[in-house]
Symmetry: D4
Subunit: 145 residues, 8 copies
């Protein structure tokens, strides 16, 4: 049995590579958003052409990014959402809540000090952990006999 | 025909009173989270007793807050989520995304300058506006003949 | 038992008034889109302000129109969609198909000569009739003992 | 990961071949309606025998065409609906709206000048583009790392 | 608390009157198909005009009858389906199975000697009884304190 | 693309073999109920032991038969239900209606003279045909280019 | 806004009366299983007649009890399940898990010392408390402004 | 056709090995909870670190156990739940009821003398048997021709 895992969350460092490396012995297939931040911001204009202003540029980009997210999250069995101390990350919170509403089990990864602002979302998650190792352990446990 | 509207978002100022006042001639019933911030933070310990530390205190509070949210959002026909420039508001983003996943039409209210970090969530919303007057206009339009 | 009926379709003549008048003795409540065509086209700019060009103006208007449709169709027990020989009426076709997908019984009203282009949609409808009197008869039959 | 894409829309030119050719390096499998227009119109009588008149002939054909559509759209991960300036294309609009209601992400392809009559349907789509190249770019983006 | 009960099954005798009379002290509202058999058979031609032959006449009638059934069953909390020893009653079996698939609790009423041909449907029902008094007792039990 | 087809209906002759033979060049996998009639009737007592009387024997058998049907119909993309002029076939009608309620496209096969008693079920089906060849043609059409 | 609360759990003492008394100032309507234990055990034979042995007697009773539970839980907005230290209470656990699967928020009430055997079910609940007062406080919080 | 079977129930003896051995000639893939009881109890602290007391330790463990259950039950076509005469087994009852609510056919295995406390759950199951051999026979019957 193979599982597909959607890696929601910020795209400002290479945490997804760390997840993939640490989980390389598990039968997992990882998907997620475009991690190239500039490309993610520009994809709307790249496809739809120049937009009237930065708000419309953002609208255009988010249409394409949400197309990707909707297709890939639908294919997933589990969602991991990682929160850090930088950026607003409302998109991550939205993806995490969508996962819960779609009955996809959600693992939230966040540093301890972010607990308070994440508390209602953590409570909706199946489990909240503080680092990637713990998330991998939880995924690994699904396969153990 | 009466509609029930869930007012998601921050509880740090009295924006909900403004909504209710401005919509007082529409057949709308408003519900939402506990707006007394201290009570919202303490409700877990108030009901479940003292918790081992602040993380467990938060867990306890969020269980009761999410009970309220789940019951009231289920009763709602439309969800308004207001974002401001203070606080992390991850809970607001999560409630907004839950509304979309539950097929509740979502109106996002946010100042223009917050467009970029909210862009994917705005794109999922039925409509994004910049102030409460616009949100009320949109609700009013549902009833106009 | 009262039923709510959504009247989808063109807004270029007063066919909805005819439906309401002819059904006035049945326990039906009718809802539907904004019938003032100019207002329907302008509602986006009215609420969201001037848009960069006519496509963005249309986008803005359709967000508000779809908010109204989503709320009111969700409240409905039956959907009537009327097609005429003018205009493209793609929006009517889309509303009609949405009704079917939401398990709302659909009554299509269309002149006989439009059968061919509507054939797949007619086949999805619960019943297709040629005039408003027939649609009212079908609704009336639900209540007869 | 392979995706299945349903190509809704008119069957009067060979736009589907263009899509397949341009996407040949992506892991996509394309499905769609019968593209032989005469066969699509006659399939009802071919299977069910001669019908009393052209309306019943159309009814019979649409039963078989809708069987095909229902089976293949259910198997699809994404739907592309292309609109042109000829024909009524109500069936295309209906298929597009069904896709949205089934939570299949929808890409609408239409020439710019058709924006107004398609505006509510475009707003329901995940993204609206003007040509096939843009639709392929959007699909390609789902797979990019 | 009031409950709505759909009375599926044959329309060849007045068993529904017996149900209503015997349940008159319970807070129940009963709905069901057209009980005037001729009208049920002719309703298609009455609304849609003369049809080419008896099969098309039946098709037309069943469209209107199924419109009624779909609307009223959707409004129901419980479904009672009564089977007798006359007629094929495939329509009753279909309505009963639809109720189960829609998560409406189903009470089957049938004489003991019909158990064998109804066995799989009885097994899907919440309860199978032999007469109307037993069905009323089961409904009454829902309200007892 | 392969499709799985559930063959509902009577188990008193070998019509399923005819379907399989005639469809042998299509990418179809067929499933269905136990076709050995005695075994189908006795499977309850075979597994659960002797039952108090024939009604309980039937109950026991139908539990096992419905287990099989539920598992296999869930795996199916299309359902064919064949009706003949013998036996009550209420189980077939129930399986056919379950398929419709589960959004599985339904093909009804029945001799012309059975149209009247099957009329509401036929109307719920995607298509109704008179013989197996026609059903195979309809399935074949799904794959044609 | 009124809420309906299903009171699942043992029927061996009068805890439901305590709930109703303590919540009498809240806009709540309470429903639940038959609390007369003998009647609950005998209702199958009362309606369906004498059964062959005690297992069939139990089967008959549980059909009627589950009819009641299914109807009333479907009408409920919140479910409270109370566990005590006597009896197996598997039925209570099943009702509680059904509530969660139906997206009804669940409040588990149990003495502290029962935490271990209830741990997975508690984790699925929205909140777990130790006594009725706490459950009422949680319900009250939904209505507080 | 292969089926995946979730083996819910107690983890205090090796009944799952018996199931797997006896079903080794059937095209079945078995999944289920962690069977190492100590590991199941300790997995929360193993991943999340030491907890304040035994209740929080249990909470932590059940989060991880429920993650596993949710992922694997979602992948399953059938659920077997085995009850014995030891332990409270509320978790087993909850898993069994979840399966029913998710439309997964449920086979309950229990010794005859446990019928009374399991009666409502047995009634929700597709079939209740007394031993593993019977459960395997029922599964085998799904594949027989």
């Amino acid at each position: 049995m193979n599982l597909t895992v959607y890696l929601a969350g910020q795209i400002h460092d290479n945490w997804r590579s760390e997840v993939k490396e640490k989980a390389k012995n598990l039968p997992l297939h990882f998907v997620g958003p475009m991690e190239n931040h500039d490309r993610s911001d520009n994809i709307g204009e790249e496809i739809l052409g120049e937009q009237p202003n930065s708000i419309f540029k953002d609208d255009a980009a988010s249409k394409i990014n949400n197309l990707r997210t909707q297709v890939l999250m639908e294919k997933s069995d589990v969602v991991i959402a990682l929160f850090g101390d930088k950026y607003k990350q409302w998109n991550s919170a939205a993806d995490a809540a969508s996962a819960v509403a779609l009955n996809k089990p959600l693992i939230v990864v966040r540093p301890k000090e972010l607990h308070h602002p994440l508390k209602e979302l953590s409570e909706k998650a199946q489990v909240t952990v503080e680092n990637i190792d713990q998330a991998i352990q939880a995924l690994s446990y699904i396969f153990e006999e």
